[in-house]
Symmetry: C2
Subunit: 442 residues, 2 copies
């Protein structure tokens, strides 16, 4: 098998950001990534900290020359790789030696065969929970951040930054500390205490913004264009094309863990929508590379009712209209103006999937259901995904006879408040058998 | 290589517990485990839910007939195994098909090469953090519980239980849910909110006891002898010999991740002391099996000043005297009457190690140091271990020129209160460049 690491021969300044030059030759080594390409008009731009097409203002994404040749050899190479997302390094925009660099080595989290949950929900075709709470900072965000970190190193950035609803801030802070970069992360005020502490504990700067996530995001876009932000890599803004690719690894892992097979159905939470779009991309790449056999995969998107611009647009058949004031316990999904919303709707429609939302009570119920049946303590976003799964099963939209993968993207310890009022001791007793007998729990 | 799974031919009742018979033939299949053996007098007892030697009242431990033959073949078999502690199934008291049963599949957590931390501490021989916060419920407790679960299944228990300072309760609750057993766990009142929620979220019964951990432990011992506790497997009481073996996997993983080499020094937190004793056992087994070359390993024990019975006895040259009222932020280490305390002192003395303790402020400092340099957010127990490491380096007791492994056994999200007061936003600002400029963080 010939794995081609195609050198990027482009040189010169990046398209829309005054970042430092990649290196002496202007040639960052980012593996199979060869260029940035506009998702709308297809125009190519050299690899760099660019995120908007200068032709049509569409979003840029990474274009690859992926390994060609014998799929068996590629599969064997992947299986012999590290127990992290770097086993898929040949398919990601990262240097070949990425696993040897100081980084959090996220990924290769468990795909839980959820037989007890399946029994409760009446799913007979095989139900799986992809549990990304097993990542180093306990959310899927470690994946895109690990990719963005490599881009930041390649482009010579000295500060790693982001706008975040919480999980990303912790992931950026931790990754920067491991790599020895400075970090400065931005969050909306009023996040869960655990997410605030986790964003601050790594010793970088944490700035709370008096506003919504979308306000934070707009602020970060301004900062990039200002001299204040010089030398700053914003994982989800000027490094977004790279960052976004991190979620492809979820698709790779799910298929490898299913024995190199596509699932029939997959349910994915939607905040910006980026994760769903990239999982779809990853699944298609595996087919193109001959690593899995092609078959239809129905893709479903899950939102919280209190911030459901994509779900509403899907149901109403309208454009995605921003939600000004998100109001949901699923704060990690509280993005009122989701950049990839229209792509999500396209993918769900094209694949025979759907977009659905659940309310706060349904979210909590689903969190408890998952914990009780499978011992997985998901954050509210995981409750959204499982809640929507249950709703779509009840509505007959999800087919219970098909193999189904549900994503848990984060950790229950980060959204304690959602369940704390209803998760306490069954009894408080004196240390005696009589007291225990009286409690009636034996 | 001949991996011998020796059948246990013992039959009849267990030695000190009225548990159900193992199965129809009285022969539980627990891999290479062949009997229980007294750590004091060596008397053997058939495999069963027994924990005290009927001859001398000494503690029982699992005796094995470990795989004999070619170490290279065994090493290859391990390396081809799953990315969990079950890669070492041939060396543990579990059925050969354990990885296929519903369980949390813990272990094979990251061994972080902590170069930035090493630079700050002046360690030149290689510094590593074994980060067990990556386990499913984010503490090392998932390891012993996974072993105890197999024993519970083998002995026909229907309720999984424990006395716990918090982490164990969550691990037991989650494991029982995954396996479809009932759980009922006991904790002292006044634990961290996150640990209480995590102990309750899995839907089993959680009982808070008005007393210390040692009161809880005594209560559980009573419960086992009472009809109320019939059919109950207490992971750390009547299943303790099996449970305890789980920590051997830490030794195996550390050595495999070091390239099948022993470390020169290892620093381990001490609550009951069981973990340290079993890591020592695991290291010696690897030597005996020919999987690593023998060399001296200095073993160091870390306690919190507010509950340091082992450290005090070590320094004073006395017996281990119980601490009545532990007072430390490291609640997971707050065991005043550590069962394995004397063994810990023996091992540390024999190996050329030491026992040391740190105060609450040093614990918090160490937690922050680890987060800032390596992006690892440890719980207070991890702060104890790193704090003691720093103290022993300062005192010239630890040798900075030797390879050193420091254990982080739990997750910072579970002990938020310890750092929350000093881990908040650097600034709260309006979403404008002027406001950011005024904050002086650019």
């Amino acid at each position: 098998m010939a794995v081609q690491t195609v050198a990027n021969t482009a040189s010169g300044e990046s398209a829309d950001s005054a970042a430092p030059a990649p290196d002496e030759t202007g040639t960052p080594s980012l593996g199979a990534a060869v260029a940035l390409s506009c998702r709308e008009c297809g125009t190519r731009t050299p690899l760099g900290p660019s995120f908007v097409c200068l032709e049509c203002f569409g979003p840029l994404e990474v274009a690859y020359e992926l390994p060609t040749g014998d799929p068996e050899a590629l599969r064997a190479r992947i299986e012999a790789g590290p127990a992290s997302m770097w086993r898929y390094a040949p398919l990601l925009p990262v240097p070949a030696d990425v696993a040897g660099k100081p980084n959090l080595n996220p990924g290769f989290t468990q795909l839980v065969k959820a037989d007890r949950l399946a029994a409760e929900l009446g799913v007979t075709g095989g139900l799986y929970v992809k549990d990304d709470s097993g990542n180093p900072t306990h959310s899927f965000k470690d994946r895109p951040v690990a990719i963005a970190l490599e881009a930041a190193r390649a482009f010579g950035f000295t500060t790693l930054s982001c706008s975040s609803t919480g999980n990303l801030a912790g992931a950026v802070g931790a990754a920067a500390s491991r790599a020895g970069l400075r970090s400065c992360v931005f969050i909306p005020e009023g996040l869960e205490q655990s997410k605030v502490v986790m964003a601050a504990i790594y010793g970088g700067d944490l700035v709370a913004i008096d506003g919504t996530y979308d306000d934070v995001n707009r602020f970060c876009s301004e900062l990039i264009g200002d001299p204040l932000g010089e030398g700053w890599g914003f994982t989800n803004v000027n490094l977004r094309p790279f960052y976004a690719e991190g979620s492809k690894s979820l698709a790779y892992e799910i298929c490898e863990q299913l024995g190199w097979r596509l699932p029939d159905q997959i349910v994915i939470p939607v905040a910006s929508g980026c994760q769903l779009v990239k999982i779809d991309k990853g699944l298609r790449e595996l087919v193109e590379l001959g690593l899995v056999e092609d078959k239809p995969v129905r893709i479903f998107a899950a939102q919280a009712e209190g911030c459901s611009p994509v779900s509403r647009a899907y149901k109403d058949g309208t454009d995605v209209r921003p939600v000004r004031r998100p109001d949901t316990i699923a704060k990690s999904l509280a993005i009122g103006n989701p950049a990839d919303g229209p792509y999500v709707i396209d993918i769900c429609r094209r694949s025979g999937g759907a977009v659905e939302d659940v309310n706060d009570a349904q979210i909590v119920d689903a969190m408890k259901l998952l914990a009780r049946t499978e011992g997985v303590f998901a954050e509210t976003a995981g409750g959204v995904t499982l809640g929507v799964t249950r709703k779509l099963l009840d509505e007959g939209v999800l087919d219970p006879s098909l193999s189904t993968v549900v994503l848990n993207t984060g950790d229950g310890l980060k959204t304690l408040d959602a369940v704390a009022p209803s998760a306490g001791p069954s009894a408080v007793i004196a240390p005696s058998l009589d007291a225990f007998r009286a409690a009636g729990l034996a």
